[in-house]
């Protein structure tokens, strides 16, 4: 203490490392299963009580479930007698033969038995195209996406309905100019009137688009607008052609569709339509253009304010009253449109939440680089916003998947509807038929929803790993 200029003598409490210390492993005392159990299960009195309660809960729930679905269940049989306790001689759990007997009805509804291969092809193709799309490392992502989102829906549509729609009128025909075209003339099963109408309408639309953009954006813009209109019309033409050509498939009305087929058609359509529509609506709601903004808000708030059952009911029973006589829209299609619009409104709000979380600096960074607004949204803002709201998006998907059961209210028989129809079969009237059926339906829904949930979590993890902060 005599030398007051020395650093160590500043204060008896000062401490300076005498030498550089190498890193050491953490102490071992806080590892091992016993330590873990003590820290996480039996740390305090409330923790002990909660642990005991949890154990009791598992004990109360799991054994009865196993007993019902597995050990007491009947696995084979041809009719109700196999599942009657009196005939079997012990208490009976799930009556699985009932499901085996009805499995076709649950998968295809009343789809004609000879044509079910078409549904199978659609299922298989869908799975085949979707799987590589979900696996990050699979090659040809862009091509795969184009085929899945562009070609597959048309293919599925033609296969499921049978195609060969007798298309008679396009725009001009509906506007009352049918006299222009020869009625009844056909080339290779295609109506001359329709295709002449289509080509003429496309040309007229392109001209109108060119005229409008010329007036709005100056003389240079006309050609581009005409070209994009023609491209859109050409794509529409391909789709219409696919629907119009006679491939020799027996037509199957959507009334006959049912079971899992309907559930998947509605859910997949709803999901694939609601995401892009929701994004557009969310962007519209944040737009600076008052007209766009107000119409987006009106749309979103209207669909969010109305129950889905009302929407379906209205689409099915009221809409036909407002449509002109010759125009009829297929029942399933009406439900599809209702579900898709409904889901879009919800999706829009989820996406908006993500957009609001993107800091202003990201917009400024993109603007300062000269990225125009549309590119800024597409390349900088949306990728980040959508990543943020993946849990919300998948939440919506799962909700939508289960909401499809509501179409039962408008006499469309989805999986649950087909199940309820199967319950009425007196051949299978047993005390546990109902429980077996709902249990099975629950398992099917759970598999799909849990699959989506796990995939979204894996996706989040992957994206997080890439951009760890």
């Amino acid at each position: 203490m005599s030398d007051s200029t020395s650093g160590q003598a500043l204060s008896p409490h000062a401490f300076v490392s005498a030498a550089f210390r190498e890193p050491e492993p953490p102490p071992t005392s806080d590892r091992g299963p016993l330590r873990w159990a003590r820290a996480h299960l039996f740390g305090s009195v409330p923790q002990v009580l909660l642990t005991l309660f949890g154990i009791w809960l598992l004990y109360a729930v799991i054994p009865p479930l196993v007993r019902f679905f597995i050990t007491d269940a009947v696995w084979e049989g041809t009719n109700r007698n196999a599942c009657l306790p009196a005939d079997v001689g012990h208490s009976v759990g799930a009556c699985w033969p009932f499901i085996w007997a009805k499995i076709n009805q649950l998968t295809y509804g009343f789809y004609p038995a000879d044509e079910r291969w078409r549904v199978n092809v659609v299922y298989a193709l869908g799975a085949l195209l979707l799987l590589p799309l979900l696996i990050q490392k699979a090659p040809y992502k862009r091509l795969n996406a184009i085929v899945f989102f562009g070609v597959y829906p048309v293919l599925a549509f033609v296969l499921l309905t049978g195609g060969n729609f007798a298309l008679r009128h396009f725009l001009l025909g509906y506007l009352g100019f049918d006299g222009l075209f020869p009625a009844g003339a056909e080339v290779g099963g295609l109506s001359v009137a329709f295709w002449a109408d289509f080509i003429l309408s496309s040309a007229l639309l392109a001209l109108v688009a060119a005229g409008i953009s010329r007036a709005v954006a100056g003389p240079g813009a006309g050609r581009g607008a005409a070209r994009s209109t023609l491209i859109v019309m050409a794509l529409l033409g391909v789709v219409l052609l696919a629907a119009d050509v006679n491939f020799g498939l027996v037509p199957v009305e959507t009334r006959l569709w049912g079971g899992l087929l309907v559930t998947l058609v509605i859910a997949v359509t709803g999901i694939t339509v609601s995401l892009p529509f929701g994004i557009l609506l969310a962007l519209g709601r944040r737009s600076k253009l008052p007209l766009v903004k107000i119409s987006s808000i009106l749309f979103i708030e209207f669909w969010r304010g109305v129950p889905l059952i009302t929407v379906l009911f209205f689409a099915t029973y009221m809409l036909p009253l407002f449509l002109p006589g010759q125009l009829t829209i297929d029942g399933l299609l009406r439900a599809l449109v209702g579900v898709a619009l409904f889901a879009s409104a919800y999706m829009a709000e989820v996406v908006r939440g993500g957009l609001q979380a993107i800091p202003k600096g990201q917009y400024e960074g993109a603007m300062a680089l000269g990225l125009p607004g549309s590119l800024m949204m597409r390349l900088v803002v949306l990728p980040q916003a959508l990543k943020l709201v993946i849990p919300g998006i998948v939440n919506n998907f799962i909700g939508l998947f289960k909401d499809t059961t509501l179409v039962l209210i408008v006499s469309i028989f989805d999986l649950l509807g087909a199940m309820r129809a199967a319950f009425t079969d007196p051949n299978w009237a047993t005390p546990t038929t109902l429980f077996t059926g709902f249990g099975f339906a629950g398992i099917v829904y759970f598999v799909f929803c849990f699959g989506m949930s796990r995939y979204s979590m894996a996706l989040e993890k992957r994206l997080d790993r890439a951009q760890r902060h």
Binding site: G361, G365, M367, A368, L369, G370, L371, Q384, K387, A466
Partner: protein, 258 residues
Amino acid sequence: MSTDPVIAQAEAGAPKLAVEMVGVNKWYGEFHVLRDVNLTVERGERLVICGPSGSGKSTLIRCINRLEEHQKGRIIVDGIELTDDLKRIDEVRREVGMCFQHFNLFPHLTILENCTLAPMWVRKMPKKEAEEVAMHFLEKVKIPHQAKKYPGQLSGGQQQRVAIARALCMRPRIMLFDEPTSALDPEMVKEVLDTMVELAQDGMTMLCVTHEMGFARQVANRVIFMDAGQIIEMNEPNAFFSNPQHERTKLFLSQILH
């Protein structure tokens, strides 16, 4: 003329005046943030803008690439007058690079992708060429080996240098710096300033809002002092620091030069 061939190429055929501001006024609601600002910047000039917070210096340079709109007066950047015309705004933004206090890198893209994004989508440059340009500038800011990482994995100083490289990849004729070192840890300030000094030596036209007076002395042709939305003093650096004219400038300098 620049010694860097890529920058020199961008400079060829540019108008002599880089920035011209005539009677520029701006309000935030009722608050008069820029009051009748007149400023001319020649090509190749380096300006340092300083002043107390809220004096409008950030707003001033953000008006140059229209991140903020001015309500009165004229701003002509690189021969293009800024108006409501979106096309012209995008044109100006293509020629004016900017670095921000908080870097504003895109966290979902790698360093290389951050640098190639605008050249590929705005300049329609092929991917390979854009990557070559990006690597050229990443080498210039001395972080080519980080190209595959994400911004979140880099230190603040490295991120700011990437931000400079990202701006340079668009081959801008003018660079704006909005307090590029004020969000950095003290140890990282120097690496960013060194990069900026090098850029200045290459002949880039630069407008920097900064309080790094050493940097101002070293590279600036002129130092501008702003207070209450006005330019109240402008001088070459030596005279500015040794002999400030205005009372407010003297007070400010006495506060920041210890």
